[in-house]
Symmetry: C2
Subunit: 151 residues, 2 copies
DNA sequence: GATATATATTTCAAGCTTAAAGTATCTAGC
DNA sequence: GCTAGATACTTTAAGCTTGAAATATATATC
């Protein structure tokens, strides 16, 4: 019967989920552009560097953001040009390059992030604890399964 | 108390959700590249044209995929160069351009899509009816709220 | 310690994506 | 039927993104 056609349901759900996240991303891109004159990738890189306890390996950065290492290089390079980030050679291993925010970068991001958080909160205001619990469980299941396959 | 900090939970959930969909997209991009020598945007455009009952307005295409109209033009142009899609002028309104798959495009997509569906099914094999129900409800809530704000 | 292999990053070419400007056409109001 | 503004699409410039090649360094094996 129709109710047990899991493959079909999974595909439909994936398409809807993707559409939803794209819509939200588009909204946040516009928000960052208009209110903070910045872009999503810049914001994501700055967020990762801001959260990090210290200078961060370029490879760690691209791993965290799930982007190619060439991409990480490019975005950090642009941030560097604007004086928001800097790259320093690694200490022990001379292949390594570490990235970190400048003071200017930290300050700017802190301001952007607090407003960004408010916007995300508004975007998801229709989700209460119950829905967030359900999402938490689902994401947990997905992550668990992916860990089993890859790492 | 911590349990009622909805803004924080919403932000965390959004970040995790985004990370999950990115991981899945990366997997599917790789899958399409290796197994079908194509890309995600090409696949998405072909899927939209395939599903449509007839030739599709360029504006409708970009609206459905949530991408800019310039983007739709670019991807369709590339598909056209490879003989997979074609553009024809609209009948009544001469500003309109309609896009559709060629026979070659339809045939190719049908083959790609059936395998793609299988891959999505494998990727989400950890989700059964219960989780899909929960996701359906959540997506419904989000869509409802977005409809209220925009359209 | 020389050589082979692995790892970390950058560079490169091609494609993707956006926002804004440009072109063509349509519709409304006069 | 003219004009003003709206709509549909394309073009353009800049930035984003990938995968692969290139560079530099580290590690392992002999």
């Amino acid at each position: 019967m129709r109710e047990t056609d899991l493959p079909h349901r999974r595909l439909r759900t994936w398409i809807r989920l993707l559409r939803m996240t794209r819509g939200m991303e588009n909204h946040l891109r516009e928000y960052l552009r208009v209110n903070h004159d910045t872009t999503l990738p810049r914001f994501d890189v700055m967020a990762a560097l801001y959260r990090a306890t210290g200078p961060m390996k370029m490879s760690e950065l691209s791993r965290q953001l799930l982007v190619s290492n060439g991409n990480a290089t490019a975005v950090v390079e642009r941030l560097e040009k604007e004086g928001l980030a800097r790259r320093v050679p690694g200490e022990g291993d001379r292949r390594v390059v570490l990235a970190e925010l400048t003071d200017k970068g930290r300050e700017l991001f802190a301001a952007q992030a607090s407003e960004h958080r408010g916007e995300v909160d508004r975007l998801f205001s229709m989700l209460g604890h119950e829905e967030l619990d359900a999402l938490r469980d689902i994401l947990h299941r997905v992550e668990e399964a992916s860990d089993g396959q890859n790492g």
